[in-house]
Subunit: 360 residues, 4 copies
């Protein structure tokens, strides 16, 4: 479907029957430097992809395989995207990287699960309920918030792609903390997510009739993305950050809107925050600080890899409101993973990711 | 449609072609002590109600009239619900109450607009951009958050029914401030509203294709419900309260979910807050503090006059998260107005308001 | 919650954890002549109803039991609503009616499943894939399309409540065929249903992200409601009717819109059809033939037990278009079941069913 | 944003503030052979495009102008897309083509309105209520259903792009009639459309709260797309075709699902129809006949220029059901217009149109 490209890399997608897997196929099937070499899906192995995702039935892809069926040597794969459930990824990645993929140079791995995001084994155990099974890799993995990790991504063989909520929260908060414009001790993140963030699992709570035309919070003060956010903010602030984080389920398929309430530090104003973020991201293709006064909306980024950000003065003295929006399946998952692949392989960072948002 | 009731009061609804007007008809047409005497609608006068709201076409109601056409003397009206746009209500209500309605005892007025909610003329002018035209009435009006104003409602001729966002926020916050369980200086209200809150006006921003499958904040730090919330909280706290208030538009027709971030005072815990609210509201028919751990959802109250509330401990020390949900058109508007009428006329407070939420 | 009623009947709901079960609770908990005596739910036994349907958590109901746990003698039940999955109902009902409910006079049974709708054992076997397990009861059951079966409903102990698609299609088509206004050999039914029709089962196809913002047909020429429709139309026409029936899944929770394309018989016109239906249903509380030109919408009946109907002339000569709309969970299921109970027990037919549609 | 292309054509979009205008920008801004030269929008002139469509705020486009402000000579435009309201287009196009665009060779015009679709002046007058103002052009215009009009499109200067409903209906029906597989006298088209088909006009009927969670038909036997469909089918059948056509509004933003009920001719079967369509479209990049048994869904094509089709045997003898789905804004409007431009200028037909559908 694309013009011939002499150095296309060969890519495998593990877990292609979930929503993030489908997004990887959607994006990579039109990537000028990529050839899809293998797709896996546990329960759907043997089916064509069109049987699982009819909207992708027009793309020429390999059939779905069971992950054990892949002949890694023969597959000759340069990059592997893992879109597997949390917990199961550890062994798979360890196998790929430690044992080698068929005796050859191991592929670079871009993991979309939570398995390699937390650096600290104890924190992982506390939040995920079991000891990590690949602690050594844990340390080696690079936390792939692209705009803040390019040099490390270029060098590593394992990128832990950030969660959707963390991506939306961290892009604005990291520079604000790094430049000491906001207090690290008073950060409230109120996030609203589309339902696709819960994946394609058959759960009562994800049924159309349960979700449409209503809203509710969930995982209040107990969502696993909180320690992930805190780890990155602590790095940025060089100060132990604890955040208040409340995710909400909104009646929409895609999108995260993240509203953050911050306390200003050292006399900074909302305008200072806007200026700092504008400066930090002015050359970034996928992060846009909107003109002052324009409210971010998830509709601005539906289907695109962009994050839009803005800052508003609060009426309460000494406070500001920072709002950001992403598509949870793109910049919050598959798009950012491809962006990381582009960085890792030295491709143009926007390759495969140039389409505009789909609205209405 | 109801059994004969010997002392039915005669009720007029001004502005019956909007969503809150329609809800008033829906509720009052099955109220055991009410007879609908007159309905007005400016642009739709002369039409039957079914031409404006087909779902109400099965109710036997008076036709829509122009407000000027009403012969107040002949109408012999005991109660008037004003569901008119903000700003236009002042003159209408002044006419009804001051000039008398046809020389007879004036009716009791239940106003759903914002016109009589703010006590202070200067505050009104600042937020609404023009001087109030009925300042004397302003002072006389009772702010009708039913559970906190019954004695005054029973005595007044003018009830200013609270806005939808304030109702959802105030029901949990007033007792917490009154009992000094939370700090008055650090209250953040992140609210998510359905689109019906914007009314039935033909606005691009309210079109289906503009709203579906996306979220955004609006009126950040500048929404007119902020001073209304602050006025009531200041009364409760006996301390000048400024709140951080961010409304968001959610892709749903009905419902307000209000997530509040508060700082605990005097060593109080989230459990203390839950206990205090449970105690305060245990005999209330329309306010329910949920069992600990259960997240409020707008789906619990869709179409009902109920407010559901819960309190959650925050991971950030010294903080708690208070969540409430209402149907913006019922407890947030027409239902509460009818509840106020029930109080004012000495009816059973649940009359006409007993139906359960509609789910799914 | 209701005023005392000296002759309340005691009612059990089998399968109270599904959507039709929840609707039964919603309706019956405010029925003036009903007392809820028992609720069952297989997987959720032991839970309070609020744990399964939080929106009903404010109603005072018995806890959910396993169906085997019910002491039918002690329960002293007058009526049983079966909202169980197709296929499992046969044995349960046979047990209730044949073995007696604890040795006493058996209760009247109102079955919402498909198990007793088809009169012919062979047809049942063909469409449901297995022999019927209670053939004798099959013959005794009354097909409970209320407006067309009152005398029989009053006398039977087993009412097979019609399916949602059949209810919407049959209410207009039966009189038209009975009065020979349309050809029995050329009836096309294009139906659009909300997702709640698929129940609360955890199926990928019912997930929010799979359903929202799209439409598709399903069960084309193979849906089990086709033989049910044909059985009733054949009765009405006294002619073997085969229909073209295509159901579609629409991105909404409730509602069925049924668009029927018919060929006129004997020189009849669309106006004749409108007249005939208007005459037939003019005294019916729940069936409304709309004024000419007004298109039925599911929004007119959301949450109500009403069916709205209209007839339109087609540009193609000799044809007409008949449109009807119901709420699939109310008139298409639980509401009609309660209506049938009202008929069976001699209550006022509108008891418990008087609320208006919820819009917006 | 694209690599340099030496022979880029310069394109103007008239009416860029509507949904089809926005889709043209979305598609053309990434078209390898196009440069956006001018955008017009009557009420929004002077604004940047981002002020009207924030999701397109990241594309580098000319600002919105009033149509009178365009200096056609200086603009040096090769192609003009007209996305103006019906009725206003006639004069604009006549001006462009007859008077010349600034004295130079006139641009090719791709009109998305209905103004040049009907060939017959009387038919136009009857359905649109006024005489056509550019009858000569009417005759010259090519009806641009791309797959059936390539040679003519390549030669004309005025392409009348088909309506959304006609596109979905005609793609399957034209070959079936041309090959005499179905009766021309018995064609029923039941269509379900997303709300974006009504455009961005501020109408009560298009408000979110009026549309969500419900369905209704509209324009029954009187929709203006009926004569357009009949004109094309009459051409294909060489027989005067009158269709039964009922559009429905579905609670979704994009998509048309078109369910067609046809009578088989000359002993043809549903399989014959499937075979004929498969053969006719096997080399088409944007028309896919799905494998037998797979139901078309609008979700398969959301955001893409594809039309998916399938044929199903009916239980009623001698009948078949033909289902098709498109995105009304893409294949039903802007995508097909770009496809026509590609044909007209000899570009690769898929240029700019290669992205996959966006799901979920």
């Amino acid at each position: 479907m694309n013009a011939v490209h002499h150095n296309r890399i060969r890519v495998a997608i593990l877990g292609a029957s979930g929503y993030t897997g489908a997004e990887l196929v959607r994006i990579l099937s039109h990537h000028p430097a990529v050839e899809l070499a293998a797709l896996t899906a546990d329960r759907r192995a043997g089916k064509p992809l069109s049987g699982v995702f009819p909207h992708l039935g027009f793309v020429d892809t390999p059939p779905l395989q069971n992950i054990e069926e892949i002949d890694w040597a023969g597959a000759d794969v340069d990059a592997v995207f893992c879109a597997l459930p949390h917990g199961t990824t550890q062994k798979v990645v360890a196998g790929l990287l430690n044992d080698g993929a068929g005796g050859k140079k191991p592929p670079r791995v871009f993991d979309l699960s939570a398995d390699f995001r937390l650096k600290d084994g104890e924190t992982y155990k506390k939040w995920y309920g079991h000891a990590h099974e690949a602690l050594a890799l844990q340390g080696r993995a690079v936390y792939g918030l692209t705009e803040h990790a390019r040099p490390a991504i270029a060098k590593t063989d394992l990128v832990a792609c950030p969660g959707c909520y963390p991506t939306a929260a961290l892009l604005p908060l990291i520079p604000l903390l790094a430049e000491k414009l906001i207090e690290p001790s008073d950060i409230i993140i109120d996030s609203k997510s589309g339902v696709s963030g819960a994946g394609r699992a058959e759960k009562e709570a994800s049924l159309y009739s349960e979700v449409t035309e209503g809203m509710h919070p969930y995982g209040i003060a107990s969502h696993r993305h909180a320690p992930e956010i805190e780890q990155a903010l602590t790095d940025a602030a060089r100060w132990g950050v604890t955040v208040t984080f409340t995710p909400h389920l909104a009646p929409m398929s895609r999108g995260i809107l993240s509203t953050k309430y911050v306390r200003l530090h050292g006399g900074a104003t909302a305008v200072d925050l806007h200026d700092a973020l504008s400066k930090r991201y002015k050359d970034e293709p996928f992060v846009t600080v909107l003109p002052r006064g324009v409210a971010p909306s998830t509709r601005m980024v539906r289907g695109s890899n962009r994050c839009v950000i803005n800052v508003f003065a609060d009426r309460a003295e000494g406070r500001a409101i920072v709002v950001s929006a992403i598509d949870n399946l793109v910049k919050g998952a598959s798009g950012q993973a491809v962006q990381n692949m582009n960085v890792a392989f030295g491709f143009k960072e926007t390759d495969g990711l140039q389409q505009e948002a789909l609205f209405p």
